[in-house]
Symmetry: C2
Subunit: 350 residues, 2 copies
């Protein structure tokens, strides 16, 4: 018998919680076995939902609490007075070792602050980053930071690069993933001080990182590199710009295809192809932003996610746990500090 993997769920976070959460768990079970869920939230709402979703009910355990962190709640207040909230208790379950990972579709800032407070960061990591997959012409890539750190220095960017590399290797299963730093041009002279200095450090790192150099905004969709590293300000804006552009494209396409009888007939013939196209860029497939760099797995689902989106966030959590993402980071930083002490010794011997 394999060991059961336990996930703790903030059952009250998100626009359509707790309904979409229970439906998401139910949907995820088609591809899962042996996963157990701890549901933190209001049992008066959760019990009737579980009665309707018998699969989810068999693998879920309710941990009752009335408190919730709202989306409007300031981070500081959530930290101080949210100790019995569904979000905080779900994180605590990872802190205590009862669960291997936590998922919430609630307030992003509060989730990051609480997770940092409870779980702490991994050795070598100053600041956790938000990472996500996205579709590219070449397949899938990962980008970080997507908004956890508005101001980043070169060291932060380098840490993001190390985490992104481990993610691409351990979770995406790439042998030698390439890393790029997002910039306004490919030349060495371009960009702000942080990206220029980070590039210099990555060119000389003792870790076996395949550093591609600078990439530009259009390289994101092209899939030029497997990991795009950027500060949280630029990364958040780039990700949302891509979402907005995709949405605009989809709307324009729909308008065009509904514009005449001929185009409607065409859309009917191409129905299957258009459906496949839509699925390929379906944002729900990419739901589940990963808080990387914490001493525990923490996944943020989009607040407006539906059941399919939330089920995807569950799969992302399981992938990180099963592929020992955090162990990979620890190994890399152990190597780095070994190499640093070797270097010091070598210098001392001179």
């Amino acid at each position: 018998m394999t060991e059961r993997l336990t996930l703790s769920i903030d059952a009250m976070g998100g626009d359509n919680a707790p309904q979409m959460i229970i439906e998401g768990i139910e949907a995820s079970l088609a591809h899962l076995s042996g996963t157990k869920f701890l549901l933190f939230g209001d049992e008066s709402k959760l019990v009737p939902l579980l009665e309707k979703h018998s699969l989810a009910a068999t693998v879920s355990e309710i941990r009752h609490t009335k408190d919730v962190v709202t989306n409007e709640e300031k981070v500081g207040i959530a930290l101080r007075s949210g100790r019995n909230s569904s979000m905080r208790l779900a994180i605590d379950a990872v802190g205590s070792g009862e669960a291997s990972g936590v998922i919430s579709a609630g307030n992003t800032g509060a989730l990051m602050a609480m997770a940092k407070f409870v779980l702490k960061t991994l050795p070598g990591i100053d600041r956790p980053a938000i990472a996500a997959y996205y579709p590219t012409l070449r397949g899938e890539s990962v980008m970080l930071d997507l908004g956890a750190n508005v101001d980043c220095d070169a060291d932060n960017l380098v840490q993001f690069a190390v985490m992104g590399e481990v993610f691409a290797r351990n979770v995406l299963g790439l042998k030698n993933p390439s890393i790029g730093i997002l910039n306004v041009g490919a030349e060495n002279l371009k960009g702000n001080e942080a990206v220029k200095k980070a590039a210099l450090i990555l060119q000389e790192t003792p870790l076996p990182i395949k550093f591609y150099g600078f990439v530009e905004g259009d390289d994101i969709g092209a899939g030029t590199v497997d990991v795009v590293v950027t500060d949280g300000f630029t990364g958040n804006i780039a990700l949302k710009t891509a979402e907005g552009t995709a949405n605009m494209f989809g709307t324009f396409l729909k308008q065009a295809l509904l514009g005449s009888l001929m185009s409607k007939i065409g859309a009917l013939f191409a129905h299957k192809a258009l459906k496949e196209f839509k699925m390929r860029v379906d944002p729900r497939r990419y739901n589940g932003a990963m808080f990387l760099g914490l001493n525990g797995i923490c996944i943020k689902s989009h607040g407006g996610a539906d059941a399919i989106g939330f089920a995807n966030a569950i799969h992302v959590a399981i992938e990180l746990i099963e592929n020992s993402f955090n162990e990979g980071i620890k190994e890399d930083y152990a190597k780095l500090s070994n190499s640093a002490s070797h270097k010091k010794k070598a210098v001392g011997e001179e």
Copy 2:
């Protein structure tokens, strides 16, 4: 008889120069009358091209020079040793008043540096910005800065807002255009120091600017505001991310429609609709980035533009000139300095 408008052209800048330039002028003439072109470049290449394009020939005058600024040229070197280059001489023609605007598809950094050196900035403007139109769900909007200034403070952002507002009013013809600052969230507390301070200044400006507040990346495609203000680092990456996403979408759609016989038949029926859709997001329609804030009109065409793209850049130049863009900026800053001296007086009277 109306006065003839003269444009000076860096005929050697761009991947396919000078051929696409002459073809672009020829193409632009379908919608133009009374515009004259000064072509700066190698006459041994320009003469044979003009012989083949009789319309362009009748409105063009060659100003021979052998020197060119390459794309690889460092900005400092271009400034010092490019005094006889086609780019520099084309800018000089605006500086001397011989031409009303200049267009180049060459090295962006060199063009900006030379234009700043020759034309200087408008009163009130510390740093020029690069601006461009883009398609949105609501129509067209304008975004700046797109890469001229990697690091921006609050004052720079406020100046971009003033220029963007004048542009939207004078050139896009909007009565009361809305201005937003690109940020990682809509709340006042979000973002870096520059955007927070710029928002405070814009909330209290004596100019009749309709300041919407912060917008996010997905608001760009949604067209939430008429003018999106951002620093050159973020703006450049956002614009190129949108281009890359659009390209990915187009490729995925093509692949889907070519995937089966049924979908091919569908695409045939929907041919006209798909063509219209493609035209609506054709990047060539948005070619012609504007260097705003200079004491003279300067337009940068994409280096890889074709004739249709270059013709569009010509139209952008003419729109800025005919709609008195620079006069609008001067008026706004005159108002601002009046209001500042009134304020001082009022304070002094207390």
